[in-house]
Symmetry: C2
Subunit: 526 residues, 2 copies
């Protein structure tokens, strides 16, 4: 029997609050530090592993986190989720994104539809469609091949798929899998769409309209924008556009599209990279086999997240260390720092994933909670960040926990030995150095050059960014956020906080305003 | 006589702490809100204005901030800075970036060199060089024109110039000023350089190597990487490369470059967009006249920042409201949210500018301070952010002050009326709606749909993003950060916090490690 309790009602949490803190600087110095790096490691799938040596935890605290995981029934809740219980209490919906790739647990049947079969069917339809495009069986007006795919979507229909495309593009070049270039239009700012269209060969471009409801204002606006441009270029929009949407949407079964691929209300936007939302653009860009590998990586890590031993479940451990840092140690932000140019937009995706899921103040029953919930998430790839905001991370007044990601090998494999080391070695040397610098600090007679240390970080390491490891990495963070939401007793799967702005924007456009809203509208000349 | 005191030693600050807070929700509702939007506005240059109606301040608090500005001698300190006093106490350097564009104040002569003349001379040399490139007088081996300029730099040599280039690219397309495409290589990750080179016509590419010291490891590594690629392509690197550096650097007066343009130690990297660091790439991309307009916009706003009346000095007001929020109200982060795709990388630049300048824990004398200093800065362009992390901004447990930027007009001017409004109108409607939603909130029977409001924001509005308004906007934030640094009694112009990581990375590459550093090196296969 699952019991949904607030974090501060759990006796294991109350004990955790009383547990002696760890002096990170001390334990990470000397041989103790070396021993920690070897010991504090949790294997992940696809060659990844999670190392938490530089987190301010010890065996006692991890034991306490295990008790918290058990008392909060985190794995039971995860099982309930993927077995089809109604976890999204606000919108009264199931949460089934794991089913799009993992086929974990039981069959979930809703209104007579086996959801497992439904998602697989959509993947197969996309694969078939993409193959036909690649083989020149589905072609634009001039009978030549489509060369570019342009995704039109915003939020979860943009950030995840875009981050995944960028992450795999160089890998695909090296493995001869870059079948089509992909581009993205998201912002309602007309300069976004106009600039993408200006640099695109419209006659050979295939557009993917992505909106679950089929009513997202930005996306529909950009669709019309694109259709007008196609028409002006003498092209037939219906020959250049497919839709990813729900079957109940106006975009479904619509002759305005070459094809439509379906998700449903049980796939949240920010969890939709492994659904048709990511599936269409990634299968068209890289081929269906690559997308299938990406799903397999995610599925494997999903299975690992079902492990009850926190020392063998990197998602749950990462999640609860984060809860400890947020609630007991009082840290407000977390920086995500991938030492990989391929992951340059991964932090922007995690920013949505995490902040939209757990940036809440009421629990799943709508009752206010009295403790901090989701942190601010930000980040840029290293080493770039080192030359930017790391100053504050090292010497600022507040401690910001850090989440590093690093890989042994580059994607393109093009590298030179300069001053005795390759660029990839320099990159890796920098992330190793940063972890130790943050944890151990350095004393100095000049206080301006003093580093207090004691700044916690973890690192996920791997061989390289490829479809499988990327899938596992994505699953890691999705499941981490899910476990944190469970621990905070939140509904991580709705986003009511985005509604008010939408309502007010419509009123501005209808000139149905008063007070400050009227004046701001004047100020912006609307 | 200037006196440098810690914030908490100022009697005006102690009074500010005792001043009654403002109920933002209350004052922004109804007619009071409308009146505030009209009243709380400070004109800026180049058609911009700063509106702080939705900040939790009233006349009493602004009066108190004026007293703080006076007691902390903020404008006197600014005058001392641009008149050449040694403001960068840590590195014992002058701080002269305003001289690169503003020619404010007195002549500053160092070691017999008039710095004003020196910076102007470098600008003129760049203009002459760029004109020759554009006119085909300086050409690559095949005698054809250079078509692409590629900046190699990291941190301040990358983020600012890149953000400015992206900001003006569409404007340049519309005004027929896009003379060369610009690209950027920053990360030491070999996949960054390799991907840029893969998509660049090397035979017609001009590379700009940017490093003040001429010793930045990432940049020198990428330079060699690029030179190797040029050599492999049968090209002579010396015919394809210019340098932006200091005269003391090994890159100066070096036959390996077509030309070298100079800055000096008085221009900090994150303040270097208006020096040769931004000047070379922007003059080559858009022409020297466009770069000159950008400087004029910055210069005009610099002059405005010298105004002692805080209600007429938007930089100082913005800065001190930020100090009030950080130190009295206790807010830890600030989100920068430009409703303009052109400013998509502006938040990343501000992240460096702000966090590297004021992410410090000791004052300018090296003594620890007992109050919060620089906040975490993050942001993405609206409306994209709305579909991402705004959930937390609206309903999260912590209040995050917001800095909006919005423009009446798009850059390309390509727009369609869809559902009764243009995309640009929708964009503007959204930012207006968000400000009111954050400030006023909305009650609801369902606590999950309740918005508490009281979340403060300001907005800078303007006509459009063009070289002049962009210059003014850049100056606004540079001067805001400077004033905050003065208020916190920090040295905002050094960055000792980035040194330790560099030292440790070198030790890793030299295999001169012990303890945890050795183990992390093994983990990453270095």
């Amino acid at each position: 029997m699952i019991s949904w309790k607030n974090l501060d009602q759990l006796s294991s949490y109350q004990e955790l609050e009383k547990t002696a803190p760890v002096n990170l600087k001390e334990v990470m110095s000397g041989e103790s530090g070396a021993a920690r790096v070897k010991a504090c490691v949790v294997p992940m799938e696809e060659g990844l592993s999670y190392n938490y040596a530089a987190k301010a935890v010890d065996d006692t605290i991890v034991d306490q986190l295990q008790k918290l995981a058990d008392e909060a029934q985190l794995v039971d809740k995860y099982e309930a989720l993927y077995n089809g219980e109604m976890i999204n209490t606000g919108e009264k919906r199931l949460v089934l994104h794991q089913l799009t790739r993992g086929q974990l647990g039981k069959d979930v049947v809703v209104d007579g539809v086996n959801k497992r079969s439904f998602y697989v069917e959509q993947q197969n339809r996309i694969a078939e469609f993409a193959d036909k495009v690649h083989q020149g069986q589905i072609v634009p007006e001039d009978g030549k091949k489509f060369t570019t795919v342009v995704q039109i979507g915003i939020g979860g229909s943009d950030l995840g798929p875009r981050a995944m495309y960028i992450a795999l593009r160089n890998w695909a070049i090296r493995s001869n899998s870059l079948l089509m270039e992909a581009k993205f239009i998201s912002n309602v700012d007309p300069d976004d769409a106009a600039a993408v269209l200006e640099s695109t060969d419209l006659a050979h471009a295939l557009f993917i309209l992505v909106s679950k409801s089929g009513t997202t204002l930005e996306t529909l606006t950009n669709e019309t924008f694109v259709k007008n441009a196609l028409t002006k270029a003498g092209l037939n929009p219906a020959k250049h556009m497919i839709a990813c949407t729900s079957e109940a949407s106006p975009l479904a079964h619509n002759e305005g599209y070459l094809a439509a691929f379906y998700m449903d209300n049980y796939i949240g936007g920010r969890y939709s990279s492994t659904s048709v939302v990511g599936g269409a653009v990634l299968s068209l860009a890289f081929g269906p086999a690559v997308f299938a590998q990406f799903l397999e990586g995610a599925a494997a890590e999903d299975r690992r997240a079902a492990e009850k031993d926190i020392r063998r479940n990197p998602e749950m451990l990462d999640a609860l260390i984060g809860v400890y840092e947020r609630n007991v140690l009082g840290y407000e932000s977390t920086a995500v720092l991938p030492y990989s140019q391929a992951l340059s937009r991964f932090p922007a995706h995690l920013q949505q994933l995490d902040m939209e899921s757990n940036g809440k103040s009421v629990n799943r029953f709508g009752e206010p909670v009295n403790y901090p919930t989701g942190p601010v998430i930000f980040g840029e790839p290293g080493t770039n960040g080192q030359h930017s905001f790391y100053q504050l991370l090292h010497q600022g007044k507040n401690i910001i926990p850090l989440q590093f990601v690093g890989f042994k090998n580059s994607q393109l494999g093009v590298d030179d030995t300069i001053q005795g080391s390759t660029s990839q070695q320099k990159l890796c040397a920098n992330v190793a150095a940063q972890i130790v610098a943050f944890a151990c600090g350095k004393d100095d007679e000049d206080p301006n050059k003093r580093f207090d240390g004691g700044r916690p970080s973890s690192i996920i390491t791997g061989e390289d960014v490829n479809p499988r490891s990327l899938g596992a990495l994505l699953s890691h963070f999705e499941n981490k956020v899910m476990f944190q939401g469970f621990a905070w007793n939140l509904n991580s799967f709705d986003q009511e906080g985005v509604q008010l702005g939408k309502v007010l924007a419509k009123r501005v456009l209808a000139h149905d305003t008063e007070g400050a809203l009227t004046e701001y509208s004047r100020l912006l000349n609307i």
